[in-house]
């Protein structure tokens, strides 16, 4: 018997039958079904187990507010827990599994929780597991985590791809029901740029769920023509399957489009979802309303659902939860459900209406002034118990019950900028307040206007107002005549009878009793109520439950609901997968990769690469027979010291500084002087922060009277440029100086070692004399190489050897590296990576990022005398403060391990020999450490108190993390050639 609960009519496509499984059992549905409607069609009422008590649950709603029918959708790596069956579009081969149950949905061992419910009431976390304290982590928490909770994740990487996107519009309309369509049509006709976002896969909102007439014709006719007109407008972008989940500052909205969730086999290039950032000058929220339940004992039985949902299932999806139903309502709307279901051939046993004067809309029995007080049928509703107006009771057997306690406007997005909704007595609900997000207005049911006619008119009005406000001429369009009769309602929240539990928050298992307990224990404010009971704190944010909880608290305290207060909603409106926020930024695509000019060549050499910021740099170049990285690095270091090595240093930031006042500007940003630097010379420069702490170092080469090229460290290239622009624009805008980054325009290689000049002579064009006399240490020049290619040559050294840096336009970089290798064969030229670069500079005692760590001053670095007192540069004044400049402060020193076989771990702290290793005795720390193949021992750089006075002293190097204390001797940080003779040969 397939689809035994399928009714005639509806919007499903009966020509496209779709096979699917739920808990392994096969069913069929139609194109246009949701998983929930298809399950109901197959008479499956039991869809899940509740969070805390493991109560059997069925579907409650027909939209995204669903708290109960949460399933695990798909299988394997694509399995997604907590998917609401009401919004999961049916596709061929869909497989879903119920969750939070074991071994099966119908028999769940954890259903035992339900029997112990007395211990699991509000605040049970705080009371039950007070002691012994150690039990919390080991015993209680794991048990609770297993017993309570929702679905489980696949624990496999998500195979789907997600994208991010950006859209701009004059008007964003959220929701494509009658109000949204009217607003969008009004704007569309003006030529304004409109985005219409609808979370459903069908446009129309309640129009497709109701049996209604517009202009005395079926609503479908107007709906189809309106949609067709919008689709034909180039200025309108319709985003269906798209939830606007957040309203942020200045008209920025977050929206999630589910592009591929409804497809059986997604194309590997198709993003599963797109996270849109929508910029809107104006926004109209037309998100409709959410029906709310009435609390009575056992009102969570499978088969008890919202009356509006029951009607939507019948009208739109042509299914009923059962062939025999009843309705419990406090308003006119419940009667529409009875009328529409009768029209579809479903038996309506009774409409139970709390209002004493209720009358029928069609041919069904009405029990006026009555209320439902209990329900029977653990795995599916069998009957309801009714308290009649005269005090008697009656049991009505039915397989489903529609409940309507009135409607709550969907105000969530109006709260995202701290807006607080206000109480409206007429509809006994909260409506948007005055403080809305900038640019937002609200129309239709979301604004508390519950009639179709009212929604259409309000959509037009809000749209005209919004467009006029941004200078677009807009005329009110004519809308079809529609039902304008107000719905009458008598506020009614719970039946207040019986000793059992009556549910308010279905997803977090919060009952009327829990609210009473909170009241009894003094948690009276709404914020306390929410946190103590967890009411409204589940993934549905209490869309169906918040107001009920408030109303009951109001009743208990004898206050009105507005006096009791309201809670507000936060983004996201519905849950958003983390993958969508990540977009493409994951795995290898986490961030862009910057390649150096020699990257391809280095790859061919089998280089090992390391990420430095976004750059990928060669770390070392293994040769045949080398089995340990240290062998490679030692060889590379020794090659530089004995012959010549080449290293790609393109990653250093380069800033072109030009202008009449270029030198004056550098005087300002560097603590040392640049005004007198001769053209054709390079100078080391140290930049301080304004607070006197060292920020960055590099070199500035003077290529012309008014032209410098400044280098920064790789890591600080971006922030130093920003700082230089700050100084230029904000601190000395009167200087004539212009800056631009040229980091990537030049491929730059360090050529270092005693044979570096011999090697360069083979590539530098002979017009240029690079002899020591003509081109001494710290020289710079614009030259040509290899027969006329322009190049820049700097005689600077990071390694302490005779060395150069040579730069050519980047397109020649790959080629220059190959040429240097070829030309250098006779010297056994050796490429070296960042690791050898680091060892070389530690041996030479050059500071780098580890030493310029944002805590150290020029004095600490041993460069205190560089800070010029004759000029105004950033940081000089504050660098004179005692703590940064005192003689007794930290100094950069070298350290040699006493035992040459051990490494001095970087990060270790320094202590006077044999002193107790406590913080108060701490005298400094190691910043950089390496094995020096040149000295054949472990060496390090570090900061040590009074360091310059302690040469030769032995200190303790303590590393509690590694549990070691070593001995080291304090030495000069210049392990190699302290006089700097090798540089100048």
């Amino acid at each position: 018997m397939t689809q035994m609960n399928r009714l005639p009519g509806g919007l499903v496509d009966r020509s496209r039958q779709l096979a699917f499984t739920f808990d392994g059992k096969s069913y069929s549905g139609f194109k246009g079904d949701t998983l929930a409607s298809a399950l109901l069609a197959n008479n499956v009422k039991l869809m899940g187990r509740s969070f805390k008590y493991h109560r059997p649950r069925g579907v409650l709603a027909s939209g995204s507010e669903e708290p109960n029918a949460l399933v695990e959708l798909r299988s394997g790596a694509r399995r997604e827990p907590n998917t609401r069956a009401t919004v999961a579009e049916l596709f061929e081969g869909l497989s879903a599994t119920s969750q939070n149950r074991w071994p099966s949905l119908a028999f769940d061992a954890m259903g035992i929780n339900d029997a112990f419910s007395t211990f699991l009431t509000a605040g049970f976390y705080y009371k039950t597991f007070m002691w012994p304290k150690a039990f919390w982590e080991k015993v209680y928490e794991p048990i609770i985590r297993r017993a309570a909770g929702l679905g489980s994740v696949s624990m496999e990487p998500d195979p789907d791809v997600y994208e991010k996107g950006f859209l701009h519009s004059d008007l964003l309309v959220i929701g494509a029901g009658p109000a949204g369509l009217a607003a969008a049509l009004t704007a569309a006709r003006t030529g304004a740029r409109v985005i219409l976002a609808e979370e459903d896969f069908e446009l129309g909102g309640r129009l497709i769920s109701e049996d209604e007439a517009l202009d005395d014709k079926p609503a479908k006719e107007w709906l189809e023509s309106a949609i067709a007109e919008l689709r034909n407008c180039k200025n309108v972008r319709i985003l269906s399957r798209t939830t606007v989940f957040g309203a942020f500052d200045h008209g920025i909205h977050g929206a999630l489009e589910r592009v591929g969730d409804h497809l059986s086999t997604p194309d590997p290039n198709l993003p599963r979802q797109i996270l849109w950032r929508i910029y809107a000058k104006k926004t109209i929220l037309c998100a409709g309303a959410t029906e709310r339940p009435i609390a009575f004992e056992n009102n969570d039985r499978p088969g008890i659902m919202m009356a509006g949902a029951m009607r939507a299932y019948a009208n739109r999806w042509s299914v009923t939860a059962d062939r025999s139903i009843a309705v419990f309502t406090n308003n006119d709307d419940g009667h529409r459900t009875a009328r529409d279901l009768i029209a579809k051939g479903v038996e309506v046993k009774a409409v139970i209406d709390v209002r004493p004067d209720a009358t029928a809309l069609a041919d069904y029995p009405v029990l006026s002034g009555a209320k439902v007080v209990d329900a029977a049928g653990r795995l599916g509703l069998k009957s309801v118990k009714v308290r009649l107006a005269d005090g008697g009771s009656r049991t009505i057997s039915c397989g489903a019950l529609g409940v309507s306690g009135g409607w709550n406007p969907a105000v969530a997005l109006t709260c995202h900028q701290r807006g607080r909704p206000v109480w409206n007595d007429e509809i006994a609900a909260v409506v948007p307040g005055e403080s809305l997000p900038v640019g937002m207005s609200v129309a239709g049911a979301a604004n508390g206007t519950f009639t179709t006619g009212g929604a259409l008119k309000e959509g037009v009005e809000r749209s005209v107002e919004a467009l006029n406000a941004i200078g677009v001429d807009a005329d009110a369009i004519s809308v079809p005549a529609a039902d304008d009769r107000p719905t009458t309602l008598s506020a009614f929240w719970h039946t207040g009878e019986g000793k059992g539990r009556a549910w308010l928050d279905f997803q977090n298992d919060v009952t009327v009793k829990d609210v009473k307990l909170a009241h009894q224990e003094g948690f009276l404010s709404v914020e306390h109520l929410k946190r103590y009971t967890t009411l409204g704190m589940a993934t549905d944010q209490g869309k169906t439950s918040n107001l009920g909880g408030l109303a009951i608290m109001a009743e208990l305290t004898g206050k009105s609901i507005p006096e009791t207060g309201t809670t507000i909603f936060r983004p996201p409106y519905t849950p958003v997968a983390i993958g969508a926020f990540a977009g493409r930024s994951r795995d290898e695509e986490f961030r862009p990769v910057r390649r150096t000019p020699s990257h391809e060549w280095a790859k061919e050499q089998g280089a090992i690469f390391v990420e430095t910021g976004m750059w990928l740099r060669a770390q070392w170049f293994p040769r045949a027979g080398e089995t340990h990285w240290r062998q490679c690095v030692d060889r590379e270091v020794l090659a530089v010291r004995s012959s010549v090595g080449v290293c790609d240093v393109t990653t250093l930031g380069k800033v072109d500084v030009q202008g009449k006042d270029a030198a004056a500007f550098l005087n300002k940003v560097y603590c040392n002087g640049f005004a007198k630097l001769a053209v054709g010379k390079t100078r080391y420069g140290l930049m301080l922060r304004e607070d006197g702490v060292a920020m960055d170092d590099g070199t500035a080469a003077r290529l012309g009277e008014d032209h410098f090229v400044v280098t920064t460290t790789t890591a600080n290239a971006v922030s130093v440029y920003r700082h230089m622009e700050f100084v230029r624009q904000c601190l000395c805008p009167q200087l004539d100086v212009q800056l631009i980054s040229t980091t990537e325009a030049w491929a730059q290689y360090a050529v270092a070692g005693p044979n570096s000049r011999k090697l360069l002579r083979k590539v530098v064009d002979p017009d240029f004399d690079i002899s020591n006399e003509a081109f001494p240490y710290m020289g710079c020049a614009e030259i040509t190489v290899c027969g006329g290619v322009r190049a820049r040559l700097f005689r600077i050294s990071f390694s302490g050897e005779l060395a150069y840096e040579i730069a050519v336009p980047t397109r020649y970089g790959d080629s220059l590296m190959r040429v240097l290798m070829q030309a250098g064969e006779e010297f056994d030229v050796t490429p070296y990576g960042t690791e050898a670069l680091g060892v070389l500079r530690i041996e030479k005692g050059h500071a780098a990022g580890n030493e310029l760590n944002g805590q150290t001053s020029a004095a600490h670095l041993g460069m205190g005398r560089m800070v010029s007192s004759k000029k105004d540069s950033i940081g000089t004044v504050l660098s004179r403060r005692e703590g940064l400049s005192g003689d007794d402060g930290l100094r950069l020193v070298g350290l040699e391990a006493i035992d040459p076989a051990v490494n001095l771990p970087a990060g270790s702290h320094l202590f006077a020999e044999n002193s107790e290793k406590v913080a108060s005795n701490d005298e400094g720390w190691i910043t950089s450490a390496a094995y020096s193949p040149h000295l054949n021992k472990s060496i390090a750089l570090g900061f040590l108190q009074r360091g310059s006075d302690r040469m030769g002293e032995q200190v303790d190097v303590a590393n509690p993390l590694e549990g070691v204390t070593l001995k080291a001797k304090v030495v000069s940080p210049h392990f190699v050639d302290p006089e700097g003779e090798r540089l100048r040969v």
Binding site: P597, D656, Q738
Partner: protein
């Protein structure tokens, strides 16, 4: 003269990067441009504008735009600052030429190889780029020149033909990542168009 000769390498390397590009779209590295930035010296803005205008045949690019002259194209990159482009074959020394031309009125910096330049062509490019960067591509007119960010990579994007031809400049070291991002978006665009 040195015995050795240098050859130029494209930012995307020698391999043929066009092979994966979906039909109807084009995504190619443009190797033909020489570039130089021109920034007016203090108080010399008007003189610079006049010289630039002469170079470009009568007008100077305003914020967010480019102007195409006979031999040069220029686009705005900041207050009193422009990027000038010309044929690399004819004017590899563009920066030197401009330095001479602007004399002491402007700071000129060679930018030839600071950038990778990708030409993207095909139907309805805004629907591709709306998933790459925050600029308002659907409103992007011919001769617009905007600075934007594509997958964390800062770019200049020029609109050469409305909705059909964009030219993207990004730091040269980002070439492969930028190409990958745009190629991925082209492929997903095809998939999305097919799915709808």
């Amino acid at each position: 003269m040195s015995d050795y000769r240098l050859t130029a390498t494209p930012a995307l390397g020698q391999e043929n990067s066009a092979k994966e590009v979906p039909d109807s779209f084009g995504l190619e590295e443009n190797l033909s441009l020489a570039l130089a930035s021109v920034a007016a010296r203090s108080t010399r803005g008007e003189e610079v504008s006049a010289i630039l205008s002469g170079l470009l045949g009568g007008s100077v690019p305003k914020a967010g735009t480019l102007v195409e002259g006979e031999d040069h194209v220029a686009f705005w990159i900041g207050p009193d600052q422009w990027m000038v482009a010309a044929s690399h074959d004819d004017r590899e020394l563009l920066a030197s030429e401009l330095k001479e031309r602007f004399g002491g009125t402007a700071s000129v910096t060679e930018q030839n190889d600071g950038w990778v330049c990708l030409d993207v062509t095909g139907p309805d490019l805004p629907t591709v780029f709306e998933r790459l960067a925050a600029a308002d591509f659907h409103a992007l007119e011919v001769n617009s020149a905007v600075r934007t960010v594509i997958e964390h990579v800062g770019c200049f994007l020029l609109c050469l033909e409305q909705d059909r031809h964009y030219r993207v400049f990004a730091g040269r070291s980002f070439a492969h990542s930028l190409h990958h991002a745009i190629l991925t978006a082209l492929k997903s665009t095809v998939a999305i168009r097919h799915a709808v």
